[in-house]
Symmetry: C2
Subunit: 223 residues, 2 copies
DNA sequence: TAGATTGTTAATCGATTAACAATC
DNA sequence: TAGATTGTTAATCGATTAACAATC
């Protein structure tokens, strides 16, 4: 019960997909069991951390051998709620939207982009891979009829806030935002960013730190 | 000195791009000063946190009024190392690679994708927006000649590890990985993922938590 | 001046890590 | 059995938040 309220730590949630990918690979290779030690080694984590993470799924292992791979996979998928496929609409059929619509990996997370919408009338009627593109005007009707509850935003920054508000108005409860803009929405709407700037900022900071440390330790490239 | 070794906290680094976007917008609107309170309000953060973050840039404010916007922008850009443009090569000219090559926002982070590389010979000789596509064989030569030190990986998961190793072999020191695969590389190589699965996992977890909480508090959609 | 905002020091909170007994 | 690995409890670490004096 306490678990429901606070839930699994976000850092743990973020590591789950990595475990999942590796476990699925092991399963394909015909393996049946794996130890936390091995997972840690392969993913550059500490064994204790892997054990703590796994304990969040409720799965128990056997001392000396480890965990049953198929059980772990099932438990992680269930913990993330990826066992029930969720339909999503995509807003924005530009280059990024197009790449997202065609991305095949979503299937394994239980996410299905069922339709795309764009203001550009020329794009309407076309398809992004398997995903049909409709005019933005038909968004509300589509969402209501098909009970979609996730919206993927891939429009230019200037339009993002407006589109997000439109989605909320249409009854969408969760928004996955790829536009470089921080959205201001009611608290009960779940928003998750995938922000290239944020990711690159971390890369930049790490590079800067590395350079600083290299210089401190007197490392040189050539001499 | 201590600062160099440990550096600015990663969570702070992650918030910098959001500050930056907002500050630049304010500057365009002709504003000159802004308080931490206003920034916090607009970004859904707490004022104390914004002040702590700003203190990492070394910028000092004036009680009652706040901070000089242009100084803040300059300081954040400098802190991130975005004041010196960095050249990067892109590996993989598929849909995602194409979207990345055409993305205009990189300019404001000091990142410039100067060339793309692909194994598919049909793609070579074409352009992704302004970015020319070359055969993978010419990667090593290009990197050496042009002193590129960032590699952006946008290839299928199965090829990611191999491509990353190739990049390291070519002398690349930082890799921005968009492939859904955890890379195993020497410690001195800086790796940053932009993993859709991770981002979607967080969204999924938040949705699950929200549903659980809504049920706990007895909220209903319709009755 | 009065009051809002800054900057700093201390308290709290949450995640990671360490230590170690339990177990196969 | 011996030794590797699990699971739990406690210690550490780092970031967030609170409290409050300084300041314009």
């Amino acid at each position: 019960m306490e678990d429901l309220k606070r839930g699994i730590p976000i850092p743990t949630i973020k590591r789950f997909p990595s475990y999942l990918r590796l476990l699925r690979q092991y399963l394909e290779e015909g393996k049946e069991m794996v130890s936390a030690t091995t997972l840690a080694e392969e993913l550059g984590l500490k064994p204790i951390q892997v054990r703590k993470d796994i304990s969040c799924t409720g799965i128990e292992g056997k001392p000396k051998v480890g965990f049953i791979i198929s059980y772990l996979i099932e438990a992680i998928v269930h913990t993330l709620g990826w066992d029930n496929a969720t339909d999503a609409v995509l807003i924005g059929a530009g280059h990024l939207g197009s790449a997202l619509a065609r991305y095949e990996g979503f299937e394994s997370y239980g996410l299905k982009i069922v339709a795309a919408f764009d203001i550009d009338k020329d794009k309407c009627g076309t398809k992004l891979g398997e995903v049909p593109v409709f005019p933005l005007e038909s968004l509300k009707g589509y969402i209501k009829e098909n009970h979609v509850n996730i919206g993927v935003v891939a429009v230019p920054a200037i339009q993002a806030q407006g589109i997000a508000e439109l989605l909320v108005e249409c009854g969408i409860v969760a928004i996955w935002n790829f536009a470089p803009k921080d959205l201001k929405l009611p608290e009960n709407v779940v928003v998750q960013r995938t922000d290239l700037a944020t990711s690159f900022a971390v890369l930049s900071a790490k590079v800067k730190r590395k350079i600083a440390n290299d210089e401190l330790s007197g490392e040189v490239d050539e001499w």
